[in-house]
Symmetry: C2
Subunit: 327 residues, 2 copies
Amino acid sequence: MNTSPLFSLDDLLKLYIQKFRDVKLSDTNIIADKPIYYFISNEGKRIRPLLLLAACNMFEGDMDKALNPAFGIQMFHNFTLVHDDIMDKADIRRNKPTVHKKYGESNAIISGDLMMIYAYDHLSKIDNSQLSEVLSNFNITAGKIVEGQQMDLDFETRNDVGLDEYIKMICYKTSVLLAESLRIGASVANASDLNKELIYNFGINLGLSFQIKDDWLDAFGTGERFGKKIGGDIIQNKKTMLFVKAWELADSSAKEKIKSLMDEEDENLKIKNMLALYSELGVNNLIEELMKEYFYKGIDFLEKIQVDEERKKPLLQFANKIYYRDN
Amino acid sequence: MNTSPLFSLDDLLKLYIQKFRDVKLSDTNIIADKPIYYFISNEGKRIRPLLLLAACNMFEGDMDKALNPAFGIQMFHNFTLVHDDIMDKADIRRNKPTVHKKYGESNAIISGDLMMIYAYDHLSKIDNSQLSEVLSNFNITAGKIVEGQQMDLDFETRNDVGLDEYIKMICYKTSVLLAESLRIGASVANASDLNKELIYNFGINLGLSFQIKDDWLDAFGTGERFGKKIGGDIIQNKKTMLFVKAWELADSSAKEKIKSLMDEEDENLKIKNMLALYSELGVNNLIEELMKEYFYKGIDFLEKIQVDEERKKPLLQFANKIYYRDN
């Protein structure tokens, strides 16, 4: 018999927003907090804190104890966005100027640094009995996220990125934090080691499927992409799953075509011709297959978790929402 | 009767170097670790880890347990240097190209981020019983350090920086990490709350004296400054204790002189005339007074610490070394 109430995703999001709507970041960092308030006033879907809360709730944990780590995880994610935007020279995020555009690069470096400190501070507010294990896992994850960004940067100057390398990069850059969010939620709820491992692997595969879908949507999406333009990755010559797969499948003449398209200055022509090339090479279908494969692998892990099926529903719904999204 | 051996500063440094000489930073961050190895192969005096180890040793703590946090503190300090060098557009540190000069700015941002993660990782290796308290204190300190850098940046475009503001900035940017290093060492050794407070305050005052001396040496020093040029702060129009005090004491005609000297392009002339102005205003003596005041205030706190006088000797020696240094 379950005693803890099972919350819907909407309720979990409400819980989170209610707690942190008017959050006061610090008593001391009067100047450096400003760009952070600017950034968090315009947050996205809060996928990571939601995953953490949902995992905790699934294992009937105390939701009060999950809120601070959820905020910590979101802060860590925000830190990566602020610093990545500097490196990617991105001007706009979520329809607003990026932090470095608005406050200058030095202030953006500082804000990102401070966000990471706040992330650790909120993460450290979990019970003593779990603190050491959670931090030790989280630090490995954090290191991978940074390495993922480093790989992504290095890929910019390379065309011959292999599929395995690419999967590793998106696993590090995206999946591990989703998986870690879930595992921390499970830890807060004192889940068994097996369940923590299963939920972590659910997150890894869901994350891969999520990121591949993201790449796919950028090229073939029809929905309105929040602050992003369809074909943006193609314009920027970004190494996406589609590019990597296309390069892998291309013979030398197709490779020449890709290379010359990368220099094409007419953006609409560039997008149109690259998409045509992707279709010609059959990339579209292959990518959809891969996306599906990771999604169902993830679902398998979720199914193996040893709790009442009923309690898995919010996370299952979450996974479906991510998989079937059109933006 | 003391049972734990008391180590000399040299022995503590040896202990530290021996442990971390061939440190392997990670199994996973193959690319992003590279600039960090470059940076730590050329480290400075390792003041912070030494303070941590000396504090632990003073309170007869287990030195094995102090080594990881000592490395963590040093990593945190290194992270601040790497990111500050980007913001300060510094080309050289310790006679070698700065990380961003050698590896580019994006890689330097990433390396700094990763250094912070390693800092937390090593700090988190202290005993469970102290972990929560240490991290909670450390996070406040870390936030102050970042705010200190933010203040320093903001001072660049201002001449009217007040003495109190300046003291707050150097307290945040320099003192709090020295003080925190000492407090963590004391925590590892299970020192009493009173002793932890006393050693923290010793560190704050020693740090202020240290930083004021640094400003002073840049202008009036005679020793060889490792990788720094005498008068460098003056050339860069840096807001140092000397500048702040001079501005405070200057009448409107002296203020005009300072302003016009800030635009002087002949570097030697600029240094010579600014130093003459400092002397004229009596800044030199006032600064020496202040330096002395903080130093003795620090020593007072050290004296109040409730352990055998004998065990305070290494830290006292350390303080004297810092105070009487000529470079």
